[in-house]
């Protein structure tokens, strides 16, 4: 169970300080699929780096089962937005890296790895280098590399963003099935509302800058869910609309403040009046 108590994170000093996250507190329950959604460039990746232990918060604390987070740990593994496979290792060596770095016996590493390779359907690509894999394959290899360490908490930072829409749908289905048969706590960051509603048990909508929790939506859709049926019933669409209207407001703020704040908003407003 991850608990964040009014986390504050800012970069720079004095006049050049920028607050990225300001008194953000929430709780992620164990074995639940938690999704964080918010406009881009708002600090979601910073939050991930804080939880994973790569950076320390300026104020506030992050407790995992009561213990303070001090540094990275193989129970909290991150899958980044761009591929972080080691380019000079073959797919198999990449997957073997975690357990072998922790000194596990070579025998059962190989066994676990073969099982996972089979599961992610990369048996044929075991010998190939990451540069020779397609986007979808790289993502599956990276998931396998994380899952072999059997982490308690899987953190994914917009993992399917670089893929084209169709591969993304296949990967979504795929990851949902993968996390159903071995439940663990998931922290999934995305900007895509469909991904969020499809995967989430609990959806955190974040504000624009500085980032804090704007709303928490309980996505109580039945499991297992499939991508093409999930949006048929009205309840799912209602949840989507609720999140979407919040998000649209935050996106507008991001959009307006991304372009010289009020001045640009006035420009857009005057144009509306002119054409109405």
């Amino acid at each position: 169970m991850i608990e964040l108590r009014n986390i504050h994170k800012s970069y720079g000093v004095g006049r050049f300080a920028t607050t990225i996250i300001d008194d953000c507190s929430f709780v992620l329950e164990r074995n639940k699929f938690n999704v964080i959604i918010g406009p881009s460039g708002v600090g979601k990746s910073t939050l991930i780096r804080l939880i994973a232990g790569f950076e320390k918060p300026t104020r506030g604390e992050i407790l995992i089962d009561g213990r303070q987070v001090t540094g990275p740990d193989h129970n909290r593994l991150v899958v980044f937005q761009e591929s972080a496979l080691f380019p000079w290792m073959t797919t198999q060596e990449n997957i073997h890296y975690g357990p072998s770095a922790r000194g596990e016996r070579r025998g059962d590493i190989a066994a676990k790895a073969d099982l996972l390779l089979e599961k992610v359907g990369l048996r044929a690509a075991a010998r190939r280098y990451p540069a020779q894999l397609s986007g979808g394959m790289q993502r599956r290899a990276e998931l396998a590399r994380a899952l072999i360490n059997n982490p308690e908490i899987m953190i994914l930072d917009e993992p399917f963003r670089g893929l084209d829409a169709m591969t993304r749908k296949l990967m979504l289905d795929y990851y949902a099935r993968l996390s159903e048969d071995s439940p663990r706590t998931n922290l999934f960051v995305t900007t895509d509302i469909d991904e969020a509603i499809f995967l989430a048990d609990r959806l955190f909508v974040m504000t624009y800058r500085p980032m804090k929790v704007r709303a928490v939506i309980d996505v109580d859709l039945p499991r297992p869910r499939s991508l093409n049926t999930v949006f048929d019933d009205d309840h799912a669409n209602a949840l989507k609309m609720e999140a979407l209207s919040l998000l649209h407001e935050e996106a507008m703020k991001a959009f307006t403040s991304g372009s010289k704040a009020a001045a640009d908003f006035i420009e857009a407003y005057r144009k509306r009046i002119a054409t109405a």
């Binding site: 986007g135 084209d164 169709m166 591969t167 991904e195 669409n237 979407l244 996106a251 420009e267």
Partner: protein
């Protein structure tokens, strides 16, 4: 929305049984196989297909970057390429907006937008810059004239590029997955900006995408392509009324249309997945 749907008088595109064979190291791969398609003037036509299925080859043929081995393409009756002339002539009547953007990073946004007319010597340098300033203001990009493309967000860059295209008053706008690299929320704001531009100009749009929902949200018609070699598999009219905004995404009609086409797209995606297509 007053300037919405004046019937555009130009921009009708006809492709009939186009064939294109690639020859990487003599492998002679068939990319486009007898593809025929007619796009009436002033329509937003969405081309949906799996990665590496030859959609971009079709776009390159229309723009004149590549030749066709067979078949012909006509724009408003005029033959772009055909039996006599395998390669269409590149011209400002068909402007391409590329997937990763092609704003010249060494020119300010204003010079980028003013580049077209200035280079074609249709306008003097000063006149081109003034018109560019006015067009950018109209698209809500005032204040960005003097910054460089490298300094503004990718969403804004994409809008500047579309203004640069419209500056030349093209007959047809060719978009090659322009919003692929953007995150979902910026994409929804971009969609509204594109629709707004369409309502203002009524220009024909030939839009290639992977994202079925983006296609149905934007397009008058959605053409679903087979995996390689590409040929239209299913053409569907999107009868959601224009002007549209983001609330359409959750409307009942939208979901029905998605269902009608999802099976076809999914099937093609699996085929190209099996082919081990490396994303473009």
């Amino acid at each position: 929305m007053s300037a919405a749907l004046n019937p555009a008088r130009r921009g009708a595109l006809t492709i009939d049984n186009a064939v294109k064979i690639y020859d990487p190291e003599g492998a002679r791969v068939l990319a486009v196989d007898h593809c025929s398609l007619h796009i009436p003037a002033g329509e937003i036509c969405m081309i949906v297909g799996p990665s590496g299925c030859g959609k971009t080859t079709l776009l390159n043929a229309i723009a004149g970057f590549h030749d066709l081995d067979e078949g012909s393409i006509h724009l408003d009756g005029r033959m772009l390429c055909g039996p006599g002339r395998p390669k269409a002539e590149v011209g400002p009547d068909r402007i391409v907006v590329f997937q990763n953007g092609a704003l010249f990073p060494w020119k300010t946004n204003l010079d980028n937008v003013a580049f077209g007319p200035m280079v074609q010597k249709r306008l003097s340098r000063a006149a081109a810059r003034d018109k560019a300033r006015q067009l950018m203001a109209e698209a809500g990009l005032s204040g960005y004239e003097n910054s460089y493309p490298g300094e503004i967000s990718s969403g804004l860059r994409r809008r500047v590029e579309i203004v640069r295209a419209l500056m030349n008053d093209p007959t047809i706008l060719l978009l090659d997955e322009p919003y692929r690299a953007l995150d979902a929320l910026t994409k929804s704001v971009m969609h509204e900006a594109l629709l707004e531009t369409y309502y203002r100009t009524g220009i024909t749009i030939f839009f290639i995408t992977h994202d079925l929902e983006e296609a149905i949200f934007l397009g008058h018609r959605v053409v679903i392509m087979t995996s390689r070699p590409c040929r239209p598999k299913l053409i569907m009219d999107v009868d959601i009324p224009h002007p549209r905004d983001y609330t359409v995404l959750t409307s009942k009609r939208f979901r029905e249309l998605v269902h009608a086409t999802e099976a076809a797209v999914h099937e093609e995606a699996l085929k190209s997945f099996a082919l081990g297509e490396k994303e473009g």
